[in-house]
Amino acid sequence: MTIDHNEPDVSELLAPFDSVEPAVLQRLHDRLAAAAAEQHTLDIAYRTVDSPIGKLLLAATERGMVRVAFEVEDHDAVLQLLAEKLSPRILFSAGRLDPAARELDEYFAGMRHNFDLPLDFSLSRGFRLSVLEHLPHIAYGHTESYAQVALAAGSPRAVRAVGTACATNPLPVIVPCHRVVKSDGSFGNYLGGTEAKRTLLALEAA
């Protein structure tokens, strides 16, 4: 039953319908995102921002920032995972992320030392969540070792688990896992790459 589409003259007849202006679609998309946010059906809004450590994906639920992702993580893959773990009701929408984009700009300009953004930790549980909740207490320009963080999070022996918690931090930069370094002072691994960690620590040391 594919004969139906074997009608080139019909396609020709209807060809003028093919042209759909990108500007119109853009306007309709933005209108959709705004209306969805108003009706509380936009579960996750996202946008990207440029930064000294590459393009960052920012995603937020109605409760707050839920994800910051580095380019190396593959933004499409990150959005797909959010769809599976939280909700597929995801739209590109700058508005909800404007405060985050602004604060990140200020941070990378060296003008901001603390983020003042609502955070949604839906993606983290248990000990990892305890670790993430401790990280903002490491002050700008300071570092702690994985062992110190383990102690602060209530499980002094869980040094490796602290490493895992940092490596799976859904909100890097904003939740400063880059301030956790090895006991010997070397950087340790970083999801955004060692170079990104070096950049952030250098920025904060300036």
């Binding site: 139906d4 209807l14 060809a15 003028p16 996202y46 769809a83 597929p88 995801i90 739209l91």
Partner: protein, 168 residues
Amino acid sequence: MEPKKPFELIVREHGPTVLRVCRAVLGPHDAEDGWSETFLSALRAYPELPAGANVQAWLVTIAHRKSIDIVRTRNRQPVPVDVLPVSHSGLGIPGDGHAEVLDAVGQLPPKQRQAVAYHYLAGLPYKDVAVLLGGTPDAARRAGADGVKALRTILVDGSVSYVKEETP
């Protein structure tokens, strides 16, 4: 089973087709409202859509229902209207035939207009078109064929601007 994509990808992938369908069924004036209502409604229901469902057919079904609502509200009378108001909205590049085709489609009886939109613009098989229109697949196929024939008459044979090229 394929996991559900972010809705953003659904909008990007199917937004143009839904707009074409809305333009054909509703005319240029109400097409954008039809598009918006379709995707707002689809977004609300998206988490419940079974994985692996035919997304385009699902969207066209929603667009069909929303179009009926819009026409009903606009006209305060049973739907769909027989003839869409003729409107030169400046859609498309002048001379590309966009406005002409929209006008011509607007002159079709509602079932023909819908059959042409759902089958030829959205690619729905006639058995699915029949579900939307009510009636048999054969009736839907006839409506589509009659619609195309009528369009051809209006656009080609009936158009004064149509000049057959002479062979030198």
